[in-house]
Structure formats: structure tokens, C-alpha cells
């Protein structure tokens, strides 16, 4: 880039064209980062060690446009909107029977290996069938008691998307 072009790039002339491009860039960024790729700053250790307190990622809204959520997916779940969301892992889908025995996950009676769970867990939950239109979600950190863990059934419509990384 020649010095004059570099200078024009760094110190552009403020004219109508510049303002239009600036507004277009701002509008595009606003749409992308509020509707398509929502920035997430993670608070708490509910998804540790996969995601730790203070980690940063994006919620990709297009994740389930052409596919259905699957077991093992980490998803962002909305409350009233997209400013505050829950980060959870789907452990069972609609129609599945989910159960915890001494911390081990069983879906439809079969033990499910969960390499992402590294904390000892004593979760016990009687078999429970996931209702249509819902999924069963749990955090990766199972050190907290089940009744305080914020795990359970959630409407599939509340899933905002998957995570970018």
C-alpha cells in the first residue's frame, strides 16, 4: 500500500461517502453481533472444565437451521431474550428416558460415556421421559448437588444456537 493510500485509509476524508460506509459497517456489525453471532462471556463454573468462568465465545444462531439438536451438543438457552443465557449440554432428547445412577448418565437404559465430565458426581435421578418438544440439559460440572445444578427439561424453542468453539 502506497503512503498516500495508507494515509487515506487511516485518516479518511470525512465526506458523505465515508459517513455512508461508516453507518453501513456499524449497521452490519449490529445485525451480525445481535442476531447471528452473539458474543457470550461465561460466568460461573457450571460448564467447567469445558468452559470456565470468564471464558469468551459466540453463540452461532444458524447452528440448528438445517439440523436438529443432538445429544452431547453444548447450547445457549435463552431466558426472556439474548442478553442473559444459560450454557448447557444436551444429554437426552425428546422421547428418551434419562436417568442418573451415582453420577453416571443412562439414556434409554444404556450407560453414556461422558468424557467432558471430570468432577466426581453423586447424582441420582429416577428414570424420566423427556416430553415432546423438549430436551434434557445439564452442566459439565457435576460437583454441585443435583437439586442446585440447574439441570432439567427445557423447551427446544428456547435453544438459541450452538457455540462457535
Amino acid at each position: 500500500m502506497s503512503p498516500s493510500r495508507l494515509r487515506r485509509f487511516l485518516l479518511p476524508e470525512v465526506n458523505g461517502r465515508f459517513v455512508f460506509r461508516l453507518l453501513l459497517a456499524a449497521l452490519t456489525a449490529a445485525v451480525v453481533f445481535t442476531q447471528v453471532l452473539i458474543p457470550l462471556r461465561i460466568e460461573g463454573r457450571n460448564m467447567a472444565p469445558t468452559y470456565g468462568d470468564g471464558d469468551f465465545t459466540f453463540c452461532w444462531r444458524g447452528r440448528y437451521l438445517f439440523s436438529e439438536p443432538a445429544r452431547g451438543d453444548v447450547v445457549a438457552i435463552r431466558y426472556a431474550g439474548s442478553r442473559v443465557m444459560l450454557l448447557k449440554r444436551i444429554v437426552a432428547l425428546a422421547g428418551d428416558t434419562v436417568e442418573f445412577r451415582n453420577g453416571a448418565l443412562f439414556v434409554n437404559g444404556a450407560w453414556i460415556r461422558e468424557p467432558y465430565v471430570r468432577t466426581p458426581s453423586d447424582w441420582n435421578m429416577a428414570p424420566r421421559t423427556v416430553e415432546p418438544g423438549k430436551v434434557y440439559v445439564a452442566g459439565d460440572n457435576r460437583a454441585t448437588a443435583l437439586d442446585r445444578s440447574h439441570s432439567g427439561l427445557v423447551e427446544q424453542g428456547r435453544i438459541m444456537g450452538g457455540l462457535v468453539w
Binding site: 459517513v19 431466558y79 426472556a80 442473559v84 444459560l86 432439567g152 427445557v154
Partner: protein, 165 residues
């Protein structure tokens, strides 16, 4: 002769002024949003808050509710009407659990009806310090408000269950 730049600048200024007018123009919506801001302000608690200040804040918070006010907590299948005094006492008790706490409201949507009523939906977020441990909670809520003696008061509040445990 007026140049294009002047037009552009005038247009931008008009846009900003219009936006500010819509946001800050006094009216029912502004009055309700002020009440919500008051919840954030007086609900929050600083470290080593004097007991008198705690009582004053609880009184101010309870004064935002009608007497009685309906409370619905979906997660525990509870619904009941509570007098203002009882609400105030409960606020004092709940705030005393925390050494410090910050309340914030997000994703607020407000629908005004013609008969001096309104419905507010949003997410309430609570971050604080309990006895030694950090606390972070979020709840989706739906509040019904009514204009009583010229003041917008919460007549009913429902905490919506996002995760069905």
C-alpha cells in the same frame, strides 16, 4: 447555499434528537421504565450496608407493589397474594442473605394496554456474595402493572420456569 455536508450533519442530528426524544419523552412507558430502574437501584446492596438503609430500601421496593400483590413461582407451583408489609419483610430477609448483591434487568419488553395496565417481560439477574460463596442467578419474569392513583404499581409478578427440574 447549504452544502451537502450541512444536510448530512443536520440529518444525523435530527436522527439522534428523535431517538433521544422517543427514549426519554415523559409518558407511561417512561414512568414504568423508571420504576424498573428503581428496582435495580434499591434492590442492589453494597458491602456493609447499614440496617437502616436496608429497611429504607426494602420499603421503597415494596412500595412499587400494589397492596396486595400476586406472586407466582412456577418452579415450586406456588401462587399467592401478599400484603405489602409481608413483601417488605421478605425483601429485608432475602437481602440479608447476601453481603453484597447487584440486581440488573435485561431484555425488557413492555406492552401497554388501554385500561391503565401494562405487562412487562424480562430477565432479572442477581449477582452477589453470600456467606463466603459467589452467587449468580437469573430468572425470567412476567409482571403485570396497573396505574393506581397515578402511579404504576406491580399488581402481579410471575417467575417463569425455564429449566424444569
Amino acid at each position: 447555499m447549504v452544502s451537502g455536508k450541512t444536510f448530512l450533519l443536520a440529518g444525523l442530528l435530527a436522527l439522534v434528537a428523535g431517538g433521544l426524544a422517543v427514549r426519554y419523552w415523559p409518558g407511561d412507558e417512561r414512568a414504568i421504565r423508571n420504576q424498573l430502574a428503581l428496582i435495580e437501584e434499591v434492590g442492589s446492596k453494597e458491602l456493609a450496608e447499614p440496617p437502616v438503609e436496608a429497611l429504607v430500601k426494602a420499603t421503597r421496593l415494596a412500595a412499587l407493589c400494589s397492596d396486595p400483590c400476586r406472586l407466582i413461582v412456577a418452579s415450586v407451583r406456588h401462587a399467592g397474594d401478599y400484603p405489602r408489609k409481608q413483601i417488605q419483610d421478605r425483601i429485608v430477609m432475602v437481602r440479608s442473605w447476601y453481603t453484597q448483591v447487584r440486581i440488573s434487568l435485561h431484555d425488557i419488553t413492555l406492552v401497554l394496554a388501554e385500561n391503565n395496565t401494562a405487562v412487562v417481560r424480562g430477565t432479572i439477574r442477581l449477582r452477589g456474595q453470600g456467606s463466603g460463596e459467589a452467587i449468580a442467578e437469573a430468572q425470567e419474569f412476567r409482571a403485570e402493572l396497573g396505574k393506581i392513583d397515578g402511579q404504576w404499581l406491580i399488581t402481579a409478578i410471575e417467575f417463569i420456569e425455564v429449566l424444569e427440574q
